[in-house]
């Protein structure tokens, strides 16, 4: 178990984004994690937990921790039984490595969160991340069936199991998925798998803003029809410009099925699309999705002079239309640039706000309020530390917050893990 003190870039990273310290420990086994936690907990030390390091700008308002525990050396596949369609993996494994391993067996974890080459399954599960394919496949919370967790006091707890259907006891997995590392350190994750699609295709439809309502009606028709898109991602004109060199709204429809069924769906879209819409079947869909996957800045690559904030906004499915239109109105105001894409079938949008720091903060706050007015929420997934301090990055606390605080107090009474990283300072 190495104990490293790195100066230089790491200090810069810590200063810019927080949630990491120059002093990092790299346990190589679960037992080592348990030892580190037990000792830290006993001595009242405060730890930051990091895995791939892409989410240092996500939550967290505590300026410093005693040291960082990195999961970088807890990597690899623990168990994979192809016939059971389950895999057990260590948290530091990158999404890309996990998917590449499974691909050899014609299987996949049906999750497509951003930055798959750098983000790890541990981080993805801790933030309950998902991508455009959530429409069909769901999120981390729908695929994780079991975990091993080191509690803040060092005890090792198994949650769930290794079978795909299981209701024995409380569904404890759910507590740790999306908990931002505030309740325990994940040392093993078992996931349900899906077969790789036999055929896939990506269709884009582009319309100008005045035809956006027709596109909306078309999406409602898709939902009421028999076709089964894997994603329905709406792209605002500013982002379309960088992706497609065209200043229009784009709807990206991904299709996965046996070939005949995919081709049938392409035809259906062609026959039923709004008259104003331009349709394009992408020739290299994989290249497109790879580019799409790297759209947002993260704490590993964001050292630009311009400040960028990334938001995750949740609304009702159709609520993404007023949201994206509002983003475009803000683009016209001129002092920030807003790139946005939104999952029409699931209501989760990603919004990148770039510009001068004070303007970024101002418009993030505005979009948060706008989302809340529409019955949703807006959280900040990526922003430098000093700007996070000026915002409620997790938005408003709701009625169940006292339960959340109670859970944190029960599991981590000494606030050993990722203190103040999550909603309401838990």
């Amino acid at each position: 178990m190495d104990e490293l003190l790195i100066e230089g870039p790491l200090t810069e990273l810590a200063n810019r984004f927080g949630n990491i310290t120059p002093h990092i420990r790299y346990p190589e086994t679960e037992d080592e994690v348990a030892m580190i936690l037990q000792e830290a907990n006993k001595n009242g030390k405060k730890l930051a937990i990091v895995s791939g390091g892409t989410k240092l700008g996500y939550g967290g308002i505590k300026p410093n921790y005693d040291f960082t525990l990195s999961l970088k050396k807890l990597t690899g596949i623990v168990e994979h039984t192809a016939g059971d369609m389950t895999v057990t993996v260590k948290p530091g494994t990158t999404m890309q490595n996990l998917q590449q391993f499974l691909k050899q067996h014609n299987q996949m974890v049906p999750l497509d969160p951003a930055h798959s080459s750098a983000s790890t399954i541990g981080g993805v599960v801790s933030a309950n991340e998902s991508g455009p394919k959530r429409l069909k496949y769901g999120a981390a919370r729908d695929h994780v069936i079991g975990m091993r967790i080191v509690y803040p006091d060092g005890k090792i707890i198994r949650t769930g199991g290794k079978v795909v259907k299981n209701v024995a006891g409380y569904d404890m997995n759910k507590l740790f998925i999306g908990a931002m590392g505030t309740l325990g350190v994940i040392t093993e994750i078992t996931l349900k798998l899906r077969p790789l699609p036999k055929h896939s295709s990506t269709v884009t439809l582009s319309v100008q803003e005045d035809a956006l309502n027709d596109l909306k009606s078309f999406i409602i028709r898709i939902q009421d029809s028999t076709i089964e898109p894997v994603s329905l991602e709406l792209i605002n004109p500013t982002l379309s410009k960088s992706l497609f060199h065209k200043d229009e709204y784009h709807l990206i429809i991904a299709l996965e099925d046996v070939k005949k069924a995919v081709l049938f769906q392409e035809d259906w879209i062609d026959e039923n699309k709004p008259t104003e819409a331009m349709m394009n079947v992408l020739e290299q869909p994989e290249d497109f999705w790879t580019r799409f996957n790297e759209l947002t800045p993260n704490s590993q690559n964001d050292f630009h002079d311009t400040t960028s904030g990334v938001m995750k906004v949740g609304t009702a499915n159709m609520g993404v239309f007023p949201l994206l239109q509002e983003c475009d109105r803000l683009n016209l105001e001129g002092n920030v640039q807003i790139l946005a894409h939104a999952g029409v079938g699931h209501g989760l949008s990603t919004i990148i706000v770039s510009g001068q720091p004070e303007n970024v903060v101002q418009w993030i706050r505005y979009i948060q309020a706008f989302s809340e007015e529409y019955g949703g929420y807006g959280i900040v997934k990526h922003l430098p530390f000093e700007l996070r301090e000026q915002l409620e990055v997790w938005g408003q606390q709701k009625g169940s917050f006292s339960l959340m605080r109670g859970i944190k107090q029960k599991i981590d009474p000494k606030n050993t893990l990722n203190e103040q990283r999550f909603i309401g300072g838990i």
């Binding site: 039984t81 059971d84 998925i177 995750k312 959340m404």
Partner: protein, 490 residues
């Protein structure tokens, strides 16, 4: 349901008076003869009498009743249709039962945003029936779906035959209104928006078997009906061939909407039951396989399934000709538990889960258990996700046979746990499998779970004595009444 309209006599019990004031005198039962049918749920081995049963009409009444019970230290629990198979709604501590059957409305349907809001007493199948004219349905389909309530489904995280492809209840719940054990009402994602910031309270409440709170409003995801469904029935001379066919279908990259299996004893039962379809009596296993999706893609998958079956020496395999035939095959399967009443005076349903690849060896182990205890065991199960339902057939009139059946059931669960599985896939722990929790969880892991209960339910007045093992085992064995009458009631 008979309510208390014929008795006007005042009672001396102040709790009954107070609760009557909250829900109205017509919405409370407290005389012994009225309470008898609330002494158990679908798990009939254990019985206990409630203090009273109340039928609140809205969230405010639930909250007021809970506040009263909490402040007077009266144990209480929530009950839906009472179809639970693990005893989760049995009033072990003379509870006040809060029955949610009067809160049975569909509050809203929002097709554009694919969600519906229901009250907890709304019956599962009614939701699908209410939205099917628009081509939509609600996915979780427990066998009791024509009578069980969505509130109960949330408590148990109910599954069903079609959850192989579409997931269980927890994957379809978008928001909840909950009365906490102190009476406070909280709303979690009331608009059904995904990923509300904070810990996943929805996720921990779903499947908590009524020990963390009482659900009073539920926002669920609704799905569009698949364009086509095709159902295949395959007969195998050897159970091993059936098991291997299951694995090969999944390995071929097909996720059937359902993949069900029955063994010879189960077939004998369903053929003697209310919905026989003429399965041959001398086969060891049958598979019921359903594929759904876009019409253009179905034929190819059916071809693959037929090939897999033929590779495994299938005796006969056929595709349902029409919806009528498909419906008959499913009625035969879905009433399978109750049908055992036709071939055995009593039966006990178990609910183990195993990794799919262990199917042949665990089935073999169950045959050994059957021999060892000298009791017939029928197997009806969701083979696709490894969820076994061994049905232990016995006769409670024979001295000691009930105890033997319980032991055989425990042995089946042990076999599942030893194969790396779980002791329950969809029926819940309740009181039935409390002790068996030790097969899969350590003391520390059980304590980790009860400490979460303490956050929600610190005085443990809500549904006490469920889900977690007690230090000493004490089982009051009573007669098993089979559920045939219930299952045939449609």
């Amino acid at each position: 349901m008979v309510l208390l309209s014929r008795r006007k006599k005042a009672t001396i019990d102040p709790d009954i008076l107070a609760l009557s004031k909250i829900v109205g005198t017509k919405s409370i039962l407290h005389h012994k003869e009225d309470l008898l049918s609330y002494d158990c749920d679908g798990f009939t081995i254990h019985k206990a009498m409630p203090k009273a049963v109340i039928f609140p009409k809205n969230t405010e009444e639930v909250s007021a009743a809970v506040k009263y019970c909490a402040s007077h230290n009266i144990p209480f629990l929530a009950r839906g249709a009472g179809t639970g198979l693990s005893g989760g709604a049995i009033p072990l501590n003379n509870e006040v039962i809060i029955s949610l059957v009067k809160m049975k409305n569909l509050l809203s349907v929002d097709y554009e945003n694919r969600k519906a809001v229901v009250q907890p007493g709304f019956v599962n199948l009614k939701l699908t029936n209410s939205i099917s004219h628009k081509g939509y349905y609600y996915a979780p389909d427990p066998s009791s779906q024509y009578v069980c309530t969505i509130g109960g489904n949330v408590a148990e995280n109910a599954g069903g035959a079609h959850c192989l492809k579409y997931g269980v209840t927890t994957n379809h719940i978008l928001g909840l209104e909950v009365v906490l054990p102190d009476g406070e009402v909280i709303e979690i994602s009331p608009n059904g928006v995904l990923d509300t910031p904070g810990y996943d309270i929805l996720g921990i409440l779903t499947g908590s078997e009524g020990t963390l709170g009482i659900v009073t409003k539920i926002t669920v995801r609704i799905l569009k009906n698949p364009e086509s469904k095709k159902t295949v029935l395959a007969y195998f001379d050897r159970v091993e061939d059936g098991s291997h066919a299951v694995s090969d279908i999944i390995s071929a990259g097909i996720i059937p909407a359902a993949l069900e299996m029955m063994d010879q004893t189960a077939i004998e039962g369903v053929e003697a039951g209310a919905f026989p379809v003429g399965h041959p009596p001398d086969i060891e296993a049958l598979l019921l396989i359903e594929v759904d999706g876009i019409t253009e893609g179905i034929a190819e998958q059916i071809e693959q399934i037929l090939t897999v079956c033929e590779n495994h020496h299938v005796r006969d395999v056929k595709v349902a000709r029409d919806e009528e035939e498909r419906g008959r095959w499913w009625a035969n399967r879905k009433t399978g538990f109750g049908a055992m009443g036709a071939i055995s005076p009593d039966y006990l349903v178990q609910d183990g889960v195993i990794p799919r690849s262990k199917l042949p060896e665990v089935l073999k182990e169950i045959r050994n258990i059957s021999k060892e205890y000298n009791l017939r065991i029928a197997n009806i199960f969701h083979a696709g996700d490894g969820n076994l339902h061994p049905l232990i057939l016995f006769d409670s009139r024979i001295e000691g046979e009930t105890e033997k059946a319980l032991l055989a059931g425990t042995a089946c669960l042990k076999a599942c746990a030893d194969a790396g599985g779980s002791i329950t896939g969809e029926h819940g722990v309740g009181i039935e499998k409390k002790e068996e929790m030790r097969f899969i969880f350590s003391d520390e892991e059980l304590e980790a779970q009860t400490s979460i209960r303490d956050v929600f339910n610190p005085h443990n007045l809500l549904n006490q004595g469920k889900l977690f093992p007690t230090p000493s085992r004490c089982m009051d064995i009573k007669k098993v009444v089979n559920e045939t009458s219930l299952t045939k009631s449609t």
